[in-house]
Amino acid sequence: MSWRFPKYPVKNTQVVDLEDMNENFYGFAEEIGGRLNEHNWSEGAISATTQIAKDAAFVWHQDGEAPTLNSSLAYPDTGDQLITARPTWTKIDDCSLTFTCPDCFLWIHGTVQLTQAGSTAIDGIPTAMGIVWNPAYFVLMQLGIQLDDYVIPETIVGGTELNNDRASGIKQPMFPAGTSLVIPVAAGRHTVTLVARAVGPTVDKGTPGTPATPAINEKSPWGFYASCRELICLEMRR
């Protein structure tokens, strides 16, 4: 309802008829149930935030993990997740959100500490409990946001689709990565997940038999770890 004028306006020179009066009011009473819109409220009609439901406009969804940190950065911490050296997207544990929302925009942020798996010695065999890093066993890391089982290409940190773009991932021993996205979604149930993978060559051919490089069959890298991490999604309903 925007504005509605009475069917039978009362005038000074007119005898008031009760039927007409009733007709004038029926219309208003009927339309109050479901048809009130922005024209029926004055500017500043609601003055206090306490008069508005907390989730009227914004709802946060959050998931994350805080591994127990040890004193050596090269050791994986309790709660770190090993992402094996494969080019398939792996869901990062404790970074997944499933919720039902109305037609709205989602503002999504994913941040994570990525750390390469270590080696037993400077030139040693890769191990999950390594004490040093060796770039020969480092993998190319990628991070992205997956929405309803589809990894949004624009969110991929460290290049996009390797087979198409020949872009490489991140090859750093410790890399604090972050990615974000604003996207409209239809009303319904959605799942947002932070995912990671390794791309590019994952086996270093090396030179077998020399002291500086281990045998070929020992040179497959473990991958990398997802340590402290958090996934946040803001449901923007208005």
Binding site: N22, F25, I52, K54, Q62
Partner: protein, 235 residues
Amino acid sequence: MAEISYDPIDEQELFTAASLNDRFSAGGNALQTAINSLDTDALAPGTFSEVHLPSLVLFRGGLGQAAVANAYTFGNTPYPGTWATIDSNGEAGSGTALEQSLGATYNLASGQAQGVFVMADLYVGRIWRGTGSFTATDGVAFRIQAYNGSSWQNIGRTHRFVAAAIYSGAAASNDREIDVKVPIRTLIKASDVTGNTVSSIRVQISVVSAGASAATAVSLKACYLTALVLQSTVT
């Protein structure tokens, strides 16, 4: 929602101010009572806009440090035991702390906002040793803390690390331009802070040196911290 029904004026009924008021502003079934108890179904979608409502952005604020003047060293802020709030004057201090007041104390359990969204972007410049050579894990650590009115609380999931990235014990290497941005995003919830309250946030730094060399140092090129408090719920 109260029932919205108009009780027509009958032929035998008095047509007076009182009989009108009884329908509109007085009595249990008065239209005024019903209108004051509207439920969401009474409103068309999108009825309320920014002109009708108070701002639901309860606070937004941030600060930036274009260049942190001095470095941080393992000697003064050794990881994991000692942390310092990032200062625009480095570990010499007396500059501007990378700390943002939220302008009020928010109770994240019972208040209108159940979360404080924090964004920190920290640009690491150099990592070096004044004497000696790197170990692979020489580097820097960051974390975000929240003030609950009486103490600073660690937000564990915000710990981030950057290593010097010197491999294979490169003995000749003792200085490296890292140039890495450290993005940290976190949503501070009631369960993150004792007492459910929060009034300030800050970013801290600690220097990592596997060989415990006091000469290990880190410089920061720029630091930014932003906080956003929305009227909201958290799931």
